[in-house]
């Protein structure tokens, strides 16, 4: 039986040759992402700016009458509604600001829901209300804060772990890779104006965890090779480490992308944004472990002495099996 090999044996691609170009490209995309977020803003869901969201399905209609809904609801005097398709063409999400007096009069939000629902129902008796979410300004501010903190803490905590397990250069390398992945995912959401809600923060945290998987596998191999091949040039050594782990990188990324692709194509509409964020994150996470994390090791002068001080190098080489074993 012949087995599938995605990456042929003895692959030796000079990844690090392109490190300056890649780094410039990475920095440009990060700046572009930040610019996009600044210019277009994120399309925050009610989780983060407060307000009310009604999810509705028009069971007998093929396409939801979005512009008609916008006019009808606008005429109610609660301000402009943000109406988006949600899943299939006959499903919509309607987002509203909470009425001005909602903080003092809790039933105000309820009344608004009822009015909107009855307005839609009058013209479209086939409408089915699938969900209502209503988040007050105070709670949304808290959710925003905890979301931001959790992202920050996750990045810092993971970098510290890498620092403890490896060395400080590796910690910085992984931190930059994480910043890259998170910034680009933000950029994607600014560009597409997909709704940014709590699920997306969950996706970002998962991306942080996952992207680090990749970085760690490369770093682990770098550490091993640094101990084995003490004389080798660092760029060649990094290239070798990336190439040696390339088969695994491709394989794992592919299984992740297959699984997430399944979620995007056939999964529940509610987590569509989540799945897209994850899919994108796996993509950029794989790239960043090669082109963000690794080159930083060069600039931070990682070398054979990073793990094994020069004097004990000989003992170490014997223990590790030594370079004489190369096939």
């Amino acid at each position: 039986m012949r087995l599938l090999k995605l990456v042929p044996d003895d692959t030796n691609i000079g990844f690090l040759k392109w490190r300056n170009v890649a780094m410039a490209f990475s920095i440009l995309t990060i700046i572009a992402s930040i610019g996009l977020v600044a210019a277009k803003g994120l399309n925050f869901g009610v989780d983060f700016i407060g307000g009310q969201m009604i999810q509705a399905t028009f069971t007998e209609t093929e396409t939801a009458p979005i512009s008609e809904l916008r006019d009808d609801i606008g005429a109610l005097g609660y301000g402009e509604a943000t109406i988006q398709r949600f899943g299939d063409a006959n499903e919509v999400s309607i987002r509203m600001r909470l009425p001005a007096d909602a903080e003092s009069r809790p039933e105000a939000a309820n009344e608004m829901t009822e009015k909107i629902v009855s307005t839609i129902r009058a013209d479209h008796p086939d409408v089915r209300i699938d969900g209502v979410e209503s988040v007050s300004g105070k709670v949304s501010a808290e959710l925003f804060e905890t979301g931001a903190y959790s992202l920050l803490f996750a990045m810092i905590a993971i970098s510290i772990y890498i620092w403890v397990r490896f060395e400080w250069q590796f910690g910085i390398g992984s931190l930059f890779a994480l910043v890259h992945d998170v910034a680009l995912t933000f950029g994607l959401f600014a560009l597409t104006q997909m709704e940014f809600n709590l699920n997306i923060v969950a996706a970002l945290l998962t991306i942080i965890g996952y992207s680090l998987n990749d970085t760690i596998v490369v770093f682990d191999r770098v550490r091993e090779n640094l101990k084995k091949y003490r004389k080798m040039d660092i760029i060649a050594l990094l290239d070798m480490s990336v190439n040696e782990t390339l088969a695994r990188t491709v394989m794992t990324s592919l299984t992740m992308l297959i699984a997430l692709g399944g979620l995007i194509l056939w999964g529940p509409d509610v987590i569509f944004g989540f799945s897209v964020a994850m899919f994108f994150g796996v993509f950029v996470g794989t790239y960043s472990s090669v082109y963000m994390a690794a080159p930083i090791l060069i600039w931070l002068k990682v070398g054979p002495d990073t793990f094994v001080p020069a004097e004990s190098a000989n003992d170490q080489a014997e223990k590790m099996g030594g370079p004489e074993q190369i096939g």
Binding site: M1, L3, L4, L6, D9, D10, Q55, T57, P106, A109, N110, R128, G131, V132, E133, S134, V135, S136, K138, V139, G147, S150, F153, A157, L198, N199, V201, A202, I208, G209, Y210, L212, N213, I216, V217, D220, R221, E244, A247, R248, M251, T252, T255, M256, L257, I258, A259, L260, G261, G262, L263, W266, G267, P268, D269, V270, I271, F274, M278, G327
Partner: protein, 534 residues
Amino acid sequence: MLDFPRWKVISISLLLAFGVLMSIPSLLGANGLKYWPSFLPSETINLGLDLQGGSHILLEADPADVATARLQTMEESVRAEMRRATPRIGIGDISRKNGVLSFMVRDSTQVDAARDAIVPLTSGAGLTGQRDWNIEVRDDTRFVLTPTEAGINNAVENAMETATDVIRRRIDEMGTREPTIIRQGDNRIVVQVPGLDDPEALKALLGQTAKLEFKLVDFEADPNMVASGRAPVGSQIFPYPDNPSGIPNIAVKRLGGISGDKLTDAGQSFDQQTNAPVVNITFDSDGGSKFARLTQNNVGRPFAIILDGQVLSAPNINEPILGGSAQISGNFTTESANQLAIALRSGALPVDLKIVEERTVGPDLGKDSIDKGIIAAVIATVAVLTFMVVTYGRFGVYANIALALNLFIIVGVMAMFNATLTLPGIAGFVLTVGSAVDANVLINERIREERRRGRRVIQSIEVGYKEASRAIMDANVTNIIAGVLLFMFGSGPVKGFAVVLMIGIASSVFTAVVVTRMFVALWVRRARPQELVI
């Protein structure tokens, strides 16, 4: 590698069998569970509200409200104590401004007596001797009572405890199944009610404080003053939207009313003459005798029935009501009368609660999400399984068996802890499928590599497992860090995702490393392969 002792094989197999056994009740569903022997564990996974439909409501109390209410109670207690003292202590110029209660004792010789009477009211309930209020006497005769921080915190804590009980009673009265009601932080309560037909009714019920009062109407008040919202001395103005006279306000006497918290029962019924929906209430013996006295002394005069600061109706007292039960009329529908009855039966909330967050999912959307989630999960799993076999042959099959066991174990562990499966949790499953094989990919790629370098079969396998384990462990620790933060900061459904993720990480390390290693070891021992297809 060949060294895989029997006890290890047995204990690993037992652990796996246990995990699979625990998962079965959840996979059987409600119908299948009927045939499941009762001596076996029958815990199942809970479905989150986003999957089975239902409402999640976050209620918040304002601590300032508690402090205000407490100040008012204190004023009443002080007045009562001063009246009860012999000789009676005259006080005046009472104010409740800036969160402190202050008043003057008219006769300066009574200051010490007044202090002795007040001290018992101000000590805390605890054994620590901590005071709930500080007493100060200024300019010889002015008393200033300042609540201590500990006192306020205690009061908020007590109010929230009571509020949680009241809400639980109210929801139980509605007859909904399996509600979850938990305190959150200092001044919040989370209410989760699955599979609800009418979320609006629930919200209306939770939002109602249900503080009932009976006060005498000040019928001598000048209607023009009342209409403009100004109260005569000794009276106060309450809104009265259904006032037959057309004025939306009414003046009632400050003193001489009774509160409606001393009830033993309340129920909806219909007025015998008008057939309008009304609420019948029954006082306890103490409340009953107070109500009897109030009605006896005021026959022929109107009294106002006040609910949450709004007058429902102001009927005339035609005759003394001595039996301890009364009828509350108002502009009710059958539904709203029934709701008020429930609220009164379960007691008034000690503090106003506001709904600050609400998430309601209809049962259809939940069902749709489950169906689509399962389809996506099955497609993704089959694709990944196929991919693994095509790439790694026998080793891929082992990885797949481990993955399948892994999924069972995740379900089993979740069932064991009665964890909740949410929609993002389903995504967590799909993701676990994608990432669980990562460990096997790492191991298998390493074995390939070692073979290529010329190591012998058994040695390659051994080195492959050993060298890959380090990276697997580091990678999973970082995932756990992300998972813990998700759990700490995430809300509801996101927490569910974190739970699946973390259980998945732990069990995938076990199945992907330990279990596949066992399979490989048993195979190597039996077949003694000279060549390795990997």
